[in-house]
């Protein structure tokens, strides 16, 4: 099964601090697919709060989300929505 990917812009001002990183990791962990974030040539497991935070992603930055597995499509939809609503209304 081929990996699929999509690009998002980080909307929340502070970037990927503990709260949004935690929400993202928790959401990603619901899926069986491998989900990764790529920023500036670095790739980290989206299910790892430490991995996500260690990317030091700032507000306004572009992030590529890659997913591979049975539920790859729906995982990307869920995660894109989280970015779009600034990790607020969840």
């Amino acid at each position: 099964m081929a990996a699929i990917e999509t690009k998002v812009i980080v909307q929340n001002e502070e970037g990927m601090h503990a709260r949004p990183a935690g929400i993202l990791a928790k959401a990603a962990s619901q899926f069986t697919s491998t989900i990764e974030l790529c920023v500036n040539g670095q790739t980290k497991n989206a299910k790892s709060i430490m991995g996500v935070m260690s990317l030091g992603i700032k507000g306004g930055q572009e992030v590529v989300i890659k997913a591979e597995g049975d539920d790859a499509q729906s995982s990307l939809a869920t995660i894109t929505r989280l970015f779009a609503c600034r990790f607020q209304d969840v």
Binding site: E13, A21, K26, M50, S54, G56, G60, Q88
Partner: protein, 568 residues
């Protein structure tokens, strides 16, 4: 041996006496040997990790109300870090591939992550390196079965001394046993300091002393008001400190008792004491002082330090939480009060020659209606959650109020048509901070449900002096007789039309001003939450008759010095 004094920065105020106990939260004594039984070592790691999670969950449950939003987030992050698949995988890898013992594997992995964090340019993320070390150290402690050994004889209370204290360790302290905390490192805004304040444990951080061991087992008097620690005090110093301590505790006890008593004068007049609030993180503090409501909820904080205006949903959620926290008590939420002296790029505030006389407060809102309407809709949508009072700042003319009311009526009609529930009993009011509005208070009073005096700006505009300009500092005085007469005029207008009037400027919280305000008929005072118990104590020493007399004398004064001689 002679006593001596060391100094640091008080981060949580108070006084305490006890025996010094040096404790280390750094990871020490990690065994270096390889493990023999890999699967047993993996199980040990798993058990210690799960125990660490249970410990953090216990902290969150036990300390619930003492934790602010930020601290709750930190502990939520700790839990997720302890359950992080990458972290677990790396530790397990070291154990199963290199036969590294579990404690060392955890230590190596935590340090590696911590270094990555510390190197990040974002100071917030860099600080999270400490959290990783904190959770790593916790697993290591669980593996070795050690906990922090406090001296066995703690009858007189101990003073905890350490290089640095992580927030999770603060949350586990027993305030009965640990009377104060002294740390060589750490700052006023650290989560540890915030928690110590919330737990009311006196603390001094950033010591000018590196040799902590010389404080171990010594008798210490900790003055976390001035930041002084007396080591091995003389009998005279001890007894003097003891007296201060008793007085401090007595006062703290009285103030705590007052928290749940209503604000009343000696002759039984009920005065409403309300809180000025700058954000939701202050809600736990409010519960402690039990205000009669919120007299000023500033909404500016929602708009600052970000790239775009907060959405309607985001605002609704925040207003709803504030209203829910106050229940049936009145909650005055002020619409956006911002102007050209602030730098908020997306609000497109024009650079003005004289921002204090420029597009501020309601003036800005009326010129930028999209932002204003969004805020009003959010307020209206949140209104069923409590007793909402909406207040407009910087109102100058009746026409401005009419325009604001018109806009609100439109938004209300829109929401109602869309089937959104809106409270039928929302109150609308204005701030009186422009002299023109103060002079027209009798007309405003008939058009609004309440008015609130913003004494800081009212003074600045009445005395025509920029309160930040040192050259005219001596002219800026809220006790200027001209200002006090203007306040009296507003109070009379409010009384004549039975309109609620409150004061939400700094003056409201100054105990020497209370007799004047009561004497001219003001019954609502709004101030910073910690001042509320002090004001209650002040009220109990006043009678309405005496206040009226004092107010009469004050209004006859011709100078600030005459006013102060009567009030002090």
């Amino acid at each position: 041996m002679d006593g001596f004094i060391i100094k640091g920065n008080p981060v949580s105020t108070g006084l305490a006496s006890g025996t010094g106990a040096v404790v280390s939260y750094d990871t020490v004594g990690i065994p270096s040997g390889k493990c023999t039984d890999i699967s047993a070592e993996l199980i040990r790691f798993e058990e210690s990790r799960r125990r660490a999670m249970a410990q953090i969950e216990e902290i969150v449950t036990r300390r619930g109300s003492a934790l602010g939003d930020q601290e709750k987030q930190i502990f939520a992050a700790h839990l997720m870090m302890l359950d992080d698949p990458e972290f677990i995988e790396q530790v397990r890898g070291l154990i199963s591939q290199d036969r590294t013992n579990a404690a060392q594997a955890v230590d190596i992995t935590a340090k590696a992550f911590s270094e990555i964090f510390s190197a990040l340019p974002d100071p917030y993320l860099a600080e999270r390196g400490r959290d990783v070390l904190d959770i790593g150290a916790r697993i290591v402690r669980n593996l070795s079965g050690t906990s922090h050994e406090f001296p066995s004889n703690t009858a007189g209370g101990i003073i905890l001394i350490c290089r640095d204290i992580p927030p999770s360790a603060v949350a586990e302290l027993d305030p009965e046993m640990v009377r104060a905390v002294i740390a060589a490192e750490g700052g006023f805004t650290s989560h540890a300091a915030i928690l110590l304040k919330n737990l009311e444990i006196p603390a001094i951080f950033g010591l000018a002393e590196t040799n902590l061991s010389r404080l171990d087992q010594r008798h210490l008097l900790v003055d976390a008001q001035s930041g002084k620690i007396m080591v091995d005090p003389s009998p005279a110093e001890k007894s003097e400190f003891q007296q201060r301590l008793e007085k401090f505790n007595l006062e703290a006890g009285q103030l705590a008792q007052l928290a749940h008593a209503p604000g009343c004068t000696a002759d039984g007049a009920r005065i409403q004491l309300l809180a000025n609030v700058g954000g939701l993180q202050e809600i736990p503090r409010l519960e402690k002082v039990n205000p009669d409501g919120v007299g000023l909820f500033r909404t500016e904080f929602l708009f600052l330090h970000r790239r775009s205006a907060p959405s309607e949903n985001e605002q609704t959620e925040i207003y709803r939480k504030m209203l829910e926290a106050m229940g049936s008590r009145k909650t005055i939420i002020r619409t956006l009060d911002i102007g050209g002296d602030k730098d908020v790029p997306y609000l497109k505030l024009a650079k003005e020659e004289n921002p204090f006389l420029g597009v501020r407060g309601l003036r800005y809102c009326l010129q930028n209606q999209e932002i204003f309407r969004t805020q009003l809709r959010a307020l209206l949508r949140a209104s069923p959650a409590g007793n909402l009072h909406i207040m407009h700042p910087m109102v100058t003319t009746i026409a401005e109020l009419d325009e604001a009311n018109g806009i609100m009526a439109e938004e209300m009609a829109g929401l109602t048509a869309a089937g959104v529930a809106v409270s039928p009993s929302i109150k609308v009011g204005i701030m009186i901070e422009v002299p023109a509005a103060a002079l027209m208070a009798d007309v405003f009073a008939q058009k609004v449900d309440f008015m609130s005096l913003g004494t800081n700006d009212l003074t600045q505009y009445t005395c025509a002096c920029d309160r930040l300009n040192p050259g005219v500092k001596s002219l800026y005085n809220t006790c200027e007789p001209g200002v006090l007469r203007l306040i009296k005029l507003v109070a009379d207008a409010a009384e004549r039309h039975q309109t609620h009037l409150s004061i939400c400027g700094e003056m409201a919280g100054q105990p020497h001003m209370t007799p004047f305000f009561l004497g001219i008929g003001i019954r609502n005072l709004s101030m910073s939450p910690p001042l509320i118990p002090h004001l209650k104590r002040r009220l109990a020493a006043l009678t309405m008759g005496a206040c009226a007399e004092i107010a009469g004398k004050v209004l006859a004064c011709s100078s600030v010095s005459e006013v102060s001689s009567i009030l002090n």
